[in-house]
């Protein structure tokens, strides 16, 4: 073959695309966190996506549908999210400063996630409590659904929500990960 595209030139384009503000979503895959690979996405409004065990193809379609078709892997816009997550996993960060971007969610989901954001590091709450705080004490099941569809787990800490009997119940990333995160935070032994 004659000329081939070098990785450096490829990265240069990806950085330029982000620097010129041309992207609807910039994403990257953090390959080696303690809980496995995470796909992390950001928009101009903040952190819009964290996915466990990502299947990028399906994921990119979904991001394009929600935020616009200019979805591109570009590491520079992810620097802050990456740093905060690294610190969190190392036990050096208890609170995330990066803002979640939940604009595309229904109003009810946004309200529940806003309540969820107040549950502190190392503490847990229940689906029922969160439902009551969001305006309807009987909506525990609906709150469970909102947790399951949380677009930015870890940063919006749905792992801190457990059943009324103290059981971990469920987690979009699997119960092992929920347990691992609560252990990291010292919420369980």
């Amino acid at each position: 073959m004659t000329e081939t595209l070098t990785p450096a030139l490829d990265e240069r384009f990806r950085a330029a695309a982000a620097a010129e503000g041309l992207l609807d979503v910039a994403y990257d895959v953090l390959a080696d966190t303690p809980i496995g690979a995470l796909l992390v996405g950001v928009t101009d409004h903040g952190l819009c996506r964290i996915t466990f065990d990502p299947e990028p193809e399906r994921e990119l379609e979904e991001l394009a549908r929600l935020f616009g078709p200019r979805v591109l892997r570009s590491s520079r816009p992810l620097e802050r999210a990456r740093l905060e997550l690294d610190e969190y996993f190392a036990g050096r960060r208890r609170h995330f400063e990066i803002e979640p971007d939940v604009r595309t969610l229904p109003a009810y989901n946004q309200r529940v996630l806003a309540e969820l954001a107040r549950v502190e590091y190392g503490h847990t709450t229940t689906y029922g409590t969160l439902a009551a705080q969001s305006g309807n004490p009987r909506a525990a099941r609906a709150v469970g659904t909102v947790m399951h569809r949380n677009p930015v787990p870890i940063v919006l800490p749905c792992h801190r929500v457990v059943g009324a009997n103290g059981k971990l119940t469920g987690y979009a990333g699997g119960l092992d990960r929920k347990e691992q995160l609560l252990r990291l935070e010292g919420a369980i032994l």
């Binding site: 073959m1 030139l9 041309l22």
Partner: protein, 153 residues
């Protein structure tokens, strides 16, 4: 139903190699690097206005061809400028766009690159990943089809 515009990442991964090889042959490595970035930045700027995900390969090669022409023109001494003014060039391309709309992607790309951008058949063959003969054939099949469509109108 028309196919949806794919996420830019998928579009970029599918065409970056071919676009770079095309630019490399036309401009040489050094110039091709800048032209490569410019091609995909222009594509990115125009991307939200695309109405469907068809003919994307021909579309991005057309952008790359335009950048090659701009680059060649810039480096040519004043006296040797081709007779067509930039505006005429644009008009030629724009006149082709509606005419070629119904063509199969390969024929459309061949016609646009040949008559809109004045590329040789060898270069069009390179751009389309086929041969000079196949490019010539695609362009003439495209022209025949446009003619018969016009006669039917």
């Amino acid at each position: 139903m028309a196919t949806a515009v794919p996420p830019f990442e998928s579009f970029y991964e599918a065409h970056r190699g071919e676009v770079f090889r095309f630019l490399g042959r036309r401009l040489g490595r050094q110039q091709a690097e800048d032209a490569f970035q410019e091609t995909f930045l222009r594509a990115l700027r125009a991307y939200p206005r695309l109405e469907h995900g068809e003919h994307l390969r021909a579309w991005v090669l057309t952008i790359a061809s335009r950048i090659v022409l701009d680059d060649v023109r810039k480096r040519r001494p004043q006296g040797e400028l081709p007779e067509l003014a930039v505006e005429d060039e644009l008009a030629a391309f724009e006149q082709l766009a509606p005419l070629t709309e119904g063509l199969p992607p390969n024929q459309r790309a061949a016609v646009v690159l040949r008559y809109g951008y004045d590329l040789g058949y060898d270069e069009i063959g390179d751009a389309l990943g086929s041969t000079e003969a196949a490019a010539r054939q695609a362009a003439s099949a495209g022209v025949r089809r446009i003619r018969s469509q016009k006669e039917q109108q």
